[in-house]
Every structure is written in C-alpha cells, then in structure tokens.
C-alpha cells in the first residue's frame, strides 16, 4: 500500500523568503503525485501534479515541485513567499488503477511572518 510522509508539521517563513516543503512517498511503481493547498475553512485546491515526463513541474501561484525517484521525494518550492500563501499544504500520492485512490500526507501548516 502506498503512503506519504510530510516530516514538517509546522513551518514559519518570512515574507519574501524562499520555501521548501518536504514530501516523501512509498510506492512500488511510479505514482501520480500531487500538492494541494487548504486555506482556513476552505476546500482543497490543486497546486500541481506529476504524472510522468519532466521531473520539475510548475503549478499555480508560482509553486513548483521536483520528483526525485531515487529519494522517493516530491518537494514543493516557491522562490518568494507571499503572506497570502499561509495555509495548510498536503502532498498526495495516487496509484495507477485501483480506483484512483489518493493517499494524503498529514499536512504542513505554513505561517508567513510579515
């Protein structure tokens, strides 16, 4: 069965600083990988996805993520954080077939200091 680990429960960065949120997955084959963002009281919004091909994927709001098969990682990055980026971030892994089930990490709460 697949699993996702987000090692950082909370991260605080200053506005304008760079950001990297870590995600490690466990799955026997190449998975689908996703990052979602959840603002307080809101649903989940898809930031970006990786299915295959180029291992560096670009998403919305200036986010990018890099798939590293050797490290089983899919870390999310942003070069300059804005105060509006404060939210909960979830990494998720999906399997090919199997009903398109997504398994989520426990989330990383991002706080942005002005």
């Amino acid at each position: 069965a697949q699993s996702v680990t987000q090692p950082d429960i909370h991260i605080t960065v200053s506005e304008g600083a760079s950001l990297e949120l870590r995600c490690n997955y466990s799955y026997g084959a190449t998975p689908y990988l996703f990052w979602y963002v959840q603002s307080p009281g809101q649903g989940l919004q898809l930031l970006l996805k990786y299915f295959s091909g180029d291992t560096l994927v670009q998403g919305i709001k200036g986010f990018e993520a890099e798939f590293k098969r050797s490290q089983s990682s899919f870390n999310l990055r942003k070069p300059s954080v804005h105060w509006s980026d404060a939210a909960e971030y979830f990494c998720a892994v999906g399997v090919r077939g199997g009903g398109n089930k997504l398994t989520f990490g426990t989330g990383t709460q991002l706080k942005v200091e002005l």
């Binding site: 996703f34 809101q42 649903g43 989940l44 996805k49 009903g99 398109n100 089930k101």
Partner: protein, 112 residues
Amino acid sequence: DTAVSQTPKYLVTQMGNDKSIKCEQNLGHDTMYWYKQDSKKFLKIMFSYNNKELIINETVPNRFSPKSPDKAHLNLHINSLELGDSAVYFCASSQKGVGEQYFGPGTRLTVT
C-alpha cells in the same frame, strides 16, 4: 460557476440522528469521491463511485451509505450519528484514470 458543490456547509446534530450530505459536480467527470478530514486535518478516502458504480469502499462503518443517482451527484447518508463522526467531509471528482481530483468546499459535521 462552482465546479464541485456541497450542501450543507455546516451541519450540527445530536447523537443518534440520521443526516445526509449532498454533492454535485458540473465538470463532466465520471468519478466522484467522499473523504473525511478529522480534527487533526488528516484526510482519508471513504468511497468512490464511477458512473454510479461503487469502486472504492474503505473500512467505513456501514452506518455510512453513499448513493449516486447519476454521475454528477454523490450523496452521503449517515445513520445513528456518533460523536466520532464529527469531522469535515469533502466531496471530490475526477475523470477516471486521470488522477487529479477536484474538491468541494467541505461540510463541517458536528455531532453533540
């Protein structure tokens, strides 16, 4: 235009009651899902339907019964509500095999 919508947004009820949550998507997707997010923000899939057929049924008490009248709608009925059912329930949809899922705004269920 809301892509995935849920009603109600908030639901407060007493233990032992029966309640339903409704979900509709206008994305033309053929697969819909229910997820539960607990108080620690952990998200776990409960069910998925593809074209009105149940595809995923995780280890969920049989007090929870999903129903899909057509591929644009997926409802969740919960019998004999318990305190532990308090959570946020999210509906999502996707095109089967594509992977990415689009989520609704959630329904916050509080059982007292």
